[in-house]
């Protein structure tokens, strides 16, 4: 396929470091959009702040780079005002689950018809490697020089508990799986989440002996287990394993279907 027709080529080179996984996520998203045959005019790509949130600047859609953590709030207004738009939010672990955590869980609860792709690299990359809500306990960041004293969020379980219609997790290494999940998320009505584990060799890898980008990809290859396989494993066996798969895939009315009932009742009341 022709990726270039979706890219704003004059905005290259992008800001992502050598070995960063974010470009792999972008490529996957473009492959799926191309497969679905969506018109570029009908797509709105919305982001917050951070490395992942620079994605919209590079693609030829309606693109909105908002304030830190607030992409889903802006996207909610956009989707309600123009339901014809395919609204996709691209965000990071810090943007989505620290400063934007409230909007994330409420978007899931509300089941607004938006797909959120979270590039989870366990770190604040753009500001130089600070601890994030998904940094594993004990791991180092510039603000946890003695190891992270906090427990991490499991983003997919958080989204599932908050009520999302579809939740899946993949690594960037398993790109075919990532494509499948992104396609399922984009084509499903309601709030859908794809958490993609993306290596950050520059900040996270460097501080935690992760090696190069290739080393970190190989680590994804070696240590990934599916939800099905993980079900039969002990907590000790699951230590340091990356559990991937579809966590939620359910049918439920989205926010705007519910609001149509509100409009019907309101119009009925005025007659």
């Amino acid at each position: 396929m022709d990726y270039l027709k979706y890219l704003r080529q004059d905005k290259m080179p992008h800001i992502w470091c050598d070995g960063c996984g974010h470009g792999i996520v972008l490529k996957s998203l473009l492959r799926v959009i191309d497969k679905l045959g969506w018109d570029k005019n009908d797509i709105a790509l919305v982001s917050g702040i951070g490395c992942s949130s620079r994605t919209p600047g590079y693609v030829d859609f309606n693109t909105l780079h908002t304030t830190h953590g607030r992409a889903l709030a802006f996207a909610t207004g956009l989707k309600i005002a123009n339901p014809r738009l395919h609204v996709i939010v691209v965000t990071g672990d810090g943007d989505a689950t620290a400063i934007g955590g409230n909007h994330f869980i409420h978007s899931a609860r509300r089941n607004i018809d938006i797909t959120t792709i979270i590039y989870n690299n366990y770190i604040y990359g753009m500001t130089g490697g600070q601890v994030s809500p998904t940094t594993p306990t004990g791991k180092k960041a510039t603000t946890t020089p003695y190891g992270n004293p906090d427990a991490p969020f499991d983003i997919s379980l958080l989204a599932a508990a908050a009520g999302a219609s579809y939740v899946a997790r993949s690594t960037v290494f398993h790109f075919a799986r990532m494509d499948k999940y992104i396609e399922q998320a984009l084509t499903k009505k309601g709030f859908t989440v794809v958490e993609v584990l993306s290596p950050c060799p520059t900040s996270y890898g460097r501080m935690n002996k992760g090696g190069s980008g290739v080393d970190m990809l190989l680590n994804q290859k070696e240590n990934t287990v599916t939800i099905e396989k993980a079900a039969g494993m002990s907590p000790e066996e699951l230590q340091d394993k990356l559990v991937v798969g579809v966590f939620v895939d359910k049918e439920q009315p989205d926010y705007q279907s519910h609001y149509q009932n509100v409009i019907s009742k309101a119009l009925g009341a005025t007659k």
Binding site: H65, G77, A81, H106
Partner: protein, 383 residues
């Protein structure tokens, strides 16, 4: 609006509170999206719109917080739907970052602040005018801002319509700085026929999409705005950007855009600024007031006139851009200026600048949640 009035659209006389008039003014202006969060004393605006917006094919949503409400209205406006949020002091503080985004990205939205006592949680059910400087300087960075301030229920309706018109015309966030007294005050009001209102919509691009510059340096200083989903695929960011909308660190381009978003408000100030004068022709004492306090001031001036004192009132219906020219045109003949306000002199300071400290500016200030009475202002006039 009552069911009866809806069934009889010709009957335009109501007993209505300011917050309801704000909601009705928004609908009359074409607002079809409201996102909000409950906060006293603004909540009635949300409650009325929760009922009314779906009746006119619009959308109401109660968001998870004030920040989300502000983000959602920006998103909705970017899709082409006129949008509003309403709040009070603490919520106004929370919205500031995204108000700055709307100013920077030039997205038309209306933000209502029904002022209550502060700082912090302050006096949720009591009146204040202590957010008027936050309206001007609340968010970081330099940008122009438009803020209106009603002192009657009818003015609340009219200025809400004007707020939308200015937001659309100048591609900017507009603030309606009402207060607890005006928001909760019920009075008889005759509303205009919506068909008689002048409604302004944003200037849309006519060029082919590949030629569209969302932040073009136009003669008017206001670039045309395309709505998302209409074929103009462009980039919107809070980062400093050039005419194309993409981020830049080029100091020439950064300055060009930032000066324009300031200048576009300044140069149209005559279209934005609105004041009202009472008994100012032969006055020797000038009272300058706004919002709820202007009601007491008007009464005080008429009481002064009854006792033979030549007092006059200048009521500010626009707070920002500041009505400096209107004050300059009035102050020369007067002996003193009295500025009552429910804060510690936020606008008095601005007024002292406008009159170049040539006249004594006597401040009457209150921050305990109680209004300033006509007799207090009268005492200052007579004193």
């Amino acid at each position: 609006m009552t069911e009866t009035s809806l069934k009889k659209p010709n009957l335009r006389i109501f007993m209505m509170q300011g917050n309801t008039a704000c909601a009705e003014g928004a609908i009359a202006a074409g607002c079809r999206f409201f996102a909000g969060y409950p906060i006293t004393p603004s909540t009635e605006i949300a409650e009325v719109l929760a009922k009314r917006l779906p009746q006119v094919g619009g959308n109401f949503i109660q968001m998870e917080d004030e920040i989300a409400s502000m983000g959602a209205v920006i998103g909705a406006s970017l899709a082409g739907v006129k949008s509003m949020t309403a709040t009070s002091g603490p919520g106004f503080s929370l919205k500031q970052e995204n108000i700055g985004f709307a100013a920077m990205a030039e997205i038309p939205v209306v933000i209502v602040d029904v002022q209550r006592g502060g700082p912090s949680t302050g006096l949720p059910t009591h009146v204040s005018q202590s957010d008027v400087m936050q309206a001007r300087w609340g968010t970081h960075g330099d940008h122009g801002i438009i803020a209106f301030c009603p002192s009657t229920v009818r003015e609340t309706f009219d200025l809400t319509v004007k707020a939308f018109n200015c937001a659309e015309r100048f591609r900017t966030p507009v603030l309606l700085m009402t207060d607890e007294i005006i928001g909760h005050l019920s009075e008889k009001v005759e509303l205009p026929d919506p068909a008689s209102l002048e409604i302004i919509d944003r200037w849309r691009p006519t060029v082919p999409p590949q030629e569209y510059l969302p932040y073009q340096m136009t003669d008017s200083d206001i670039p045309p705005m395309a709505n998302f989903g209409e074929g103009y695929r462009y980039h919107v960011t809070g980062l400093a950007h050039d005419e194309t909308g993409f981020p830049t660190n080029d100091p020439v381009k950064v300055e060009q855009q930032l000066l324009r978003i300031n200048r576009k408000i300044d140069r149209y100030r005559d279209l934005i600024v609105e004041v009202e004068k009472f008994d100012t022709d032969d006055m020797e004492i000038l009272v300058i007031a706004y919002g709820a306090t202007a009601r007491s001031a008007k009464k005080a001036v008429s009481l002064a006139r009854e006792s033979g004192i030549k007092a006059g009132l200048l009521k500010l219906k626009t707070l920002w851009p500041f009505p400096d020219k209107e004050i300059e045109a009035l102050y020369k003949p007067v002996k003193k200026i009295i500025v009552p306000e429910l804060n510690l002199g936020q606008m008095a300071h601005e007024i002292e600048w406008a009159v170049r400290r040539e006249k004594p500016v006597i401040r009457i200030n209150r921050i305990n949640g109680e209004p300033i009475t006509p007799s207090e202002i009268l005492a200052a006039i007579a004193g």
